[in-house]
């Protein structure tokens, strides 16, 4: 793939394969290996090369900003968005569960009024964690649900309102417009209450995750990312490109289908898992 020297090419081929198969993408892989070659020319030890590679990868991650944005004047609104089937609804419940355990008062909003049994799904989860949920009937305007939810959040003095939204293709103009409307409605009713826009990405997704991230950033603004399904065999390497190019922090990861399978993202743990 890249300009190669003939010395010990097998290791470099091996590294290229590991990075590409981790879904890092061609661009990141090329940059990382080129930088690595500059640093390790004198070193022959495979162990040292891998350590240098880990350092090189870590250098692409942001240094801070991984905690959830909150508010000194609650409620803080968290908007959960992403393409179809990535894990938004379950992640909404996981985040609510975590925050509640930490002592916060939570309210949920079921603004997916389009997909079959979406409201029921979040309803069952909200009952399970004993958190209230704002909903309208099937087919209602999602922005209206959100409007009611922020009003209720303010009235009830909750710490966090987490809004689950419908899955959508990021290239569907109407659906992206619908998200913008939700944002406008929240911002105009309570300026500054929207503290966190979380984009949910699926670890099994390949290069399209970068396209998704770019589109959601451009249309809505994104303050943090959740990567789900890291309990599978996919490595989720696309997040290196996302942090590097878009400078958006991965804040949480989903590691299973239980409410507890939710962790704060740690770049060091992530990078070392690439070589397991």
């Amino acid at each position: 793939l890249f300009k190669k020297e003939t010395e010990g090419e097998n290791l470099w081929d091996e590294l290229e394969q590991i990075l590409i198969e981790a879904d890092m993408g061609v661009g990141v892989t090329k940059d990382v290996l080129e930088n690595l070659r500059k640093h390790v020319r004198m070193i022959a030890d495979k162990e040292e090369i891998l350590n240098s590679l880990e350092k090189e990868l870590l250098g692409n991650f942001l240094h801070d900003g991984r905690s959830l944005n909150s508010s000194t004047t609650p409620p803080a609104v968290v908007l959960m968005l992403g393409v179809n089937g990535v894990g938004k609804t379950l992640t909404t419940s996981k985040l609510a569960y975590k925050l509640k355990k930490e002592g916060s008062k939570i309210l949920l909003a079921a603004s997916d009024t389009f997909r079959a049994a979406a409201i029921e799904q979040l309803g069952i989860l909200s009952k399970k964690i004993e958190v209230d949920m704002i909903k309208h009937s099937y087919g209602a305007d999602p922005a209206a649900v959100c409007y009611d939810a922020v009003e209720a959040a303010k009235a009830r003095g909750v710490d966090f309102l987490i809004i689950d939204t419908a899955g959508r293709s990021h290239i569907d103009k109407n659906l992206m417009e619908s998200l913008k409307k939700i944002r406008r409605v929240i911002d105009s009713r309570f300026p500054g209450m929207l503290k966190e826009i979380l984009l949910v990405l699926d670890a099994t997704t390949g290069q399209n995750a970068l396209s998704q991230a770019k589109t959601f950033v451009d249309s809505l603004g994104v303050t943090g990312i959740v990567m789900t399904k890291l309990d599978g065999t996919a490595k989720g390497g696309i997040i290196v490109a996302i942090e590097k190019e878009l400078k958006i922090p991965i804040k949480f990861i989903g590691t299973g289908e239980n409410l507890e399978d939710f962790e704060v993202f740690d770049p060091k743990v992530f990078v070392s898992s690439l070589f397991e």
Partner: protein, 290 residues
């Protein structure tokens, strides 16, 4: 796009009349990048480029008046061949009850695809019963009930556990004289032995005509592992690639087809009941090449 890039590589030499092997290698590098960016698996890309190299260097591209077009044609034809050459229909009996099981990872689109497939076959004159065996996901059975109701098709979701529901649905299908039973299953990881075994037990109990692997078209490099696992542990007879209404290139299709040898039969092109189309290799081939 790829054709433009290749034309740039080759046009500087057109005047001189001779294309060198190194020019072709440069063109092949562009193709390799395009396929990797399209999520085709790394090792499959390597193998693919090697086979294209043989053909390209073996005079075909060297002697061509339009080398970039010739190279693209070789690649395009090889991709179509890899994807199965032609559309592949469902393997259905006209005399016995046809049982179709949909399986796959979490969130790939199985439940939605069950209802799309039901609509597709119903429009073709089949009588359908839908079965919802996902007892784990909150409101999974309600989801299928809702979809079935919208289509005016019967849905069965009663039973103690997934296998029980599946067996109930076979009984119901036979007693009500339906000719096609479509079974929705819970999303699961290919590395969850217990859940993969549950699927195998269901297969052994009901002998489905088709086991369709429902895969998300935006799946990355891991597609080979997932598909291989489902095929080896369960055995699949067809693939449905969903969410091709996005801008994902869909290279996972190549990986899945190559590693299982199983045909892709349908693609999902949206969230609605009519958004299911028959899979045509040539359309996906040009999409993957970008």
């Amino acid at each position: 796009n790829l054709t433009d890039k290749l034309q740039t590589i080759f046009k500087n030499l057109r005047g001189q009349g001779v294309i060198s092997e190194s020019n072709i290698k440069e063109g092949l590098r562009e193709i390799q990048l395009a396929l990797l960016e399209a999520d085709v698996n790394y090792r499959i890309v390597k193998e693919f480029i090697e086979s294209v190299t043989q053909e390209a260097i073996g005079q075909k591209v060297l002697n061509s008046i339009t080398p970039s077009q010739k190279l693209v044609k070789i690649v395009n034809d090889k991709l179509i061949e890899l994807l199965g050459q032609n559309a592949s229909p469902l393997n259905l009996s006209s005399t016995q009850l046809n049982i179709i099981m949909l399986v796959g990872l979490q969130g790939s689109g199985k439940t939605t695809t069950c209802s799309k497939l039901a609509k597709f076959l119903h429009n073709k004159g089949k009588s359908i019963l839908l079965a919802g065996t996902d007892t784990q996901r909150p409101a999974a059975r309600e989801q299928l009930q809702f979809l079935g109701k919208n289509l005016g098709l019967p849905v069965i979701t009663e039973g103690e556990n997934p296998l029980d529901i599946a067996l109930n649905s076979v009984k119901k299908a036979n007693s009500s004289g339906v000719d096609t039973l479509i079974i929705d299953t819970q999303g699961r990881l290919h590395i969850n032995d217990e859940l993969m075994d549950e699927l195998l037990k269901m297969k052994e109990a009901i002998s489905p005509k088709e086991i369709l692997f429902v895969a998300d078209a935006m799946t990355g490099q891991d597609a080979v592992n997932i598909a291989k696992s489902f095929n080896e542990k369960l055995g699949i007879t067809g693939v449905i690639l969903t969410k091709l209404d996005t801008d994902t290139r869909g290279g996972a299709a190549i990986s899945i087809r190559k590693v299982t040898g199983v045909p892709i039969k349908f693609i999902g092109m949206g969230e609605k009941g009519e958004d299911l189309e028959i899979f045509y290799p040539e359309r996906l081939a040009s999409r993957i090449l970008g």
